[in-house]
């Protein structure tokens, strides 16, 4: 019987969008059965348009910067856009997949994507905001699969 991987994706910034989609697509390639439960800010990763995901250096002292910058300067207008632009440039230069590509790979390989119904309601998102082929469910839905999984990760 196939191994199972259950992920919770709770973050919606460009950098944190990678781990769930990388792990899920790779696990699917290794013949795992995979489900990702998207909750809170992670729901952003299921939006039709994910081209506006951002990364912020603010409060993130481990983020490599071309020049050392005090935290206070990182809250200046434009810093987030600049950091995002730099990150996207690096992603393209290093042959790292885009989030769209990895998400597509997940869908193609049968990874089940589940949106947390409670947070969809909380943030007033509409089912129409999201890509096709996802499901909606609650914590019990997650446990139905996670309880029988070999690997469970909260991201």
């Amino acid at each position: 019987m196939a191994k199972k991987l259950a992920l919770i994706a709770s973050k919606g910034s460009l950098d944190w969008a990678y781990p769930p989609f990388i792990l899920a697509s790779t696990a699917a390639a290794l013949d795992y059965e995979v489900q990702i439960f998207f909750t809170f800010y992670g729901l952003t990763l299921l939006k039709k348009d994910v081209s506006d995901l951002k990364v912020s250096p603010l409060g993130n002292p481990a983020m490599p910067m071309p020049v050392p910058m005090p935290n206070l300067a990182q809250m200046l207008p434009g810093m987030e856009s600049m950091a995002t632009m730099m990150m996207k440039q690096k992603i393209a230069n290093k042959g790292v997949a885009s989030i769209e590509t990895l998400r597509e790979a997940c869908l193609e390989s049968g990874v089940k994507l589940i949106a947390c119904q409670m947070t969809v309601d909380l943030f007033d998102f509409k089912p129409d905001d999201f890509i096709e082929g996802i499901e909606f469910g609650g914590a019990a839905t997650f446990f139905e699969f996670a309880g029988a999984s070999d690997v469970n990760l909260f991201i």
Partner: protein
Amino acid sequence: MEFDKEVDARNLNCPLPILRCKKGLSDMAAEQTLKIMATDPGSVKDFEAFCKQTGHELLQMDEADSVFTFYIKKHVSE
């Protein structure tokens, strides 16, 4: 080495070489050999791990000019 299909995963980073490999194998017959090229240094360990976990056989791995070439024989599915 003889092969039945070739996939170019050069200049792609993790996990794309593995995903391309999986896709490449999907429409091949059992016992056929896939040649796949990659430049990601992490792919050396990753392809070993991929084969170990999926049952495909890593026949050979070569390195020349920072390009890694893998020959993978598709397993006979149950």
